[in-house]
């Protein structure tokens, strides 16, 4: 009798538990691999190591104590909307003179200090693109997938070239002031290579989600696209890297957050 009246009270929770267990097992969450926050560590976005507050009121030294009601003052604390007044505090945006930010603090786009001798990030809207043309070398490679085929999405297997090169090193022309992203976009358009990006406001840069239909996370939870210029993997997005004559850009697919393409944690 007890069973008859309370049958559903026992059976329903049991069924729910079974369903949840099945979903958990089939969903692959039982995989011991750590599901690291892969997106923040990958290519064009920035490895956000210290999630410091974004609104740091970037130009900390007040413009002029005598004129608190000047038109510049209210605009400055919002980073996204203040490229023009910003430029007035730092008259020469080209040269590495990071004035208002302390040395060991991330900047307003969460970029940690750039190592000695490497170019500082340049905001795209602060640069003038001139008619002066230069050349650089660009290549796109997914060689790491060749060693990780078992982790690759089976639908994508046919897309991986035999030797891993999606685009062998080519010479690309760019205008003075253009970024790595500009060159990648133009070259992909010219060569008919599929590419998808997303504009990330937080890091103030484009984030390359996929090239040649090979997307982030297609080859494991730690996979995605990264770029290096002259052998260095910048710690900021590709829209903020201003190119110089003769730079060598390599776009590489990583299956292990960069450890398999020579990027070491800094």
């Amino acid at each position: 009798m007890w069973w008859k009246t309370n049958k559903w009270k026992v059976l329903l929770p049991a069924a729910a538990v079974l369903l949840l267990a099945a979903a958990f097992w089939l969903g692959g969450s039982s995989d011991p691999k750590p599901t690291a926050p892969a997106q923040t560590g990958l290519s064009s976005a920035v490895p956000a190591q210290t999630p410091a507050p974004v609104l740091k009121a970037a130009p900390s030294p007040a413009p002029s104590p005598k004129a608190p009601k000047s038109t510049k003052a209210p605009a400055s604390p919002t980073p996204a909307a203040s490229p023009a007044p910003e430029a007035s505090f730092t008259p020469e945006p080209e040269e590495p003179t990071p004035p208002p930010i302390p040395d060991n603090e991330p900047d307003r786009y969460l970029t940690d200090p750039v190592p000695e001798g490497r170019p500082e990030p340049v905001e795209p809207e602060e640069t003038e693109i001139s008619d002066e043309t230069h050349t650089c070398t660009l290549s796109i490679s997914c060689e790491t997938i060749l060693n990780n085929r078992e982790a690759l999405d089976p639908d994508k297997a046919e897309l991986v070239p035999e030797d891993g090169w999606i685009l062998r090193p080519v010479t690309a022309t760019f205008y003075q002031g253009e970024s790595v992203f500009n060159v990648l976009q133009r070259t992909c358009k010219q060569q008919g290579i599929h590419m998808e990006f997303e504009s990330t406001v937080m890091y103030h840069s484009a984030y390359i989600e996929g090239i040649h239909n090979l997307y982030q996370f297609d080859c494991g939870d730690l996979s995605g696209w990264m770029y290096s210029v002259n052998g260095w993997f910048p710690n900021y997005g590709c829209s903020r890297y201003q190119l110089q004559e003769g730079d060598v850009i390599c776009w590489e697919y990583t299956c292990d957050l960069g450890a398999d393409i020579g990027k070491t944690a800094e």
Binding site: K4, K156, Q185, G192, H194, F197, N213, Y215
Partner: protein, 312 residues
């Protein structure tokens, strides 16, 4: 339409089984042929159930929704190997994303059309009959929810009529007065709804609803006709599901379009799917034809048109 269609005259188990299988298949099979079959059959059954005018009205709503689904997918999904052109945002527009949007729109419309048939055939009393024993409170809540909107509409109509009689309708007085009247009508409606819900709960409780050993009155019999149709549905469903398991319905949209070929086995599975989806339409049409024939030949032409569904 006040007359019942053929599937409505079957045992609720048969009808419910049919809709459950068809809805699951419609929502999981992405093969364009399957989508086409299901969409076509849903349209045909809707035509039989509700008539041309109602289907035209449905399409009037479905068409913009489907177009929106296609547009949204093409605008926000950039995967796919066939690059057509570049969007203003700088990302690519691919053929695959457009086709996937079409498939999603077809699936959405199909599900809505099937649910419209479900609503017409599986009335609240049938759902109560099917689930009243196993999950009484859920089925009561379900049947109350299903009746919620039509009952509210009717009650609002009554309230508005009564208010109009005492010169407090929404067409009397200034703008402010009209608004006040409308708000007071809404207040009456909500008071009624809350009280009604409590009364329903009390009345069901006082009748011993959901107690063990309680039986419910119903007129459903599982006769030989139900058996025959259920056998066909089970056999057809088995063939479709085995075709699904053997990969006849495989289709992918990204990164490039690729799907199962037209092997004899696959064609067989598609045909079974077509016949399965068209079952209620075929039942209804054959009964109509038989009724016409009987009326034309026999002497019993004096009978009302309403009973034709139960004459077999």
């Amino acid at each position: 339409m006040n007359h019942r269609d053929s599937l409505s005259s079957f045992h609720p188990t048969v009808a419910f089984f049919y809709f459950a299988v068809v809805l699951v298949l419609s929502m999981f099979l992405t093969h364009p042929l399957c989508l086409g079959i299901s969409l076509g059959s849903a349209l045909a059954y809707n035509l039989v159930l509700h008539g041309k005018k109602a289907v035209g009205k449905q399409l009037f709503f479905l068409f913009p929704m489907a177009s929106l689904a296609i547009l949204v997918n093409a605008a926000f999904s950039h995967a796919g190997t066939t690059v057509l052109t570049y969007l203003p945002s700088g990302n690519v527009l691919t053929l695959e994303s457009i086709l996937y949007g079409c498939a999603a729109a077809a699936m959405l419309s199909t599900a809505i059309l099937w649910f419209s048939c479900f609503h017409a055939v599986m009335t609240a009393d049938k759902l109560m009959y099917l689930f009243g024993k196993g999950i009484p409170s859920l089925s009561l809540a379900l049947s109350m929810t299903l009746r919620f909107v039509p009952r509210f509409q009717e009650q609002l109509h009554r309230i508005s009529d009564a208010q109009r009689c005492v010169n407090r309708g929404t067409e009397h007085g200034s703008f402010l007065q009209k608004t006040k009247n409308a708000v007071s009508m809404l207040s009456v409606l909500i008071t009624w709804a809350l009280e009604n819900a409590m009364e329903t709960a009390d009345s069901m409780k006082s009748r011993g609803y959901g107690l063990p050993g309680r039986t419910a009155f119903s007129l459903y019999r599982f006769d030989s006709r139900d058996k025959a149709v259920l056998c066909w549905l089970l056999a057809g469903g088995f063939c479709i599901f085995s075709g699904w398991a053997s990969g006849s319905f495989i289709w992918r949209y990204y990164p490039s379009i690729k799907g199962a070929g037209l092997t004899p086995q696959a064609v067989c599975a598609y045909l079974f799917y077509l016949f399965f989806c068209l079952t209620p339409t075929a039942l209804e049409l054959s009964e109509r034809a038989r009724w016409k024939k009987l009326r034309g030949v026999g002497t019993s032409s004096g009978q009302g048109g309403d009973s034709h569904g139960k004459q077999l």
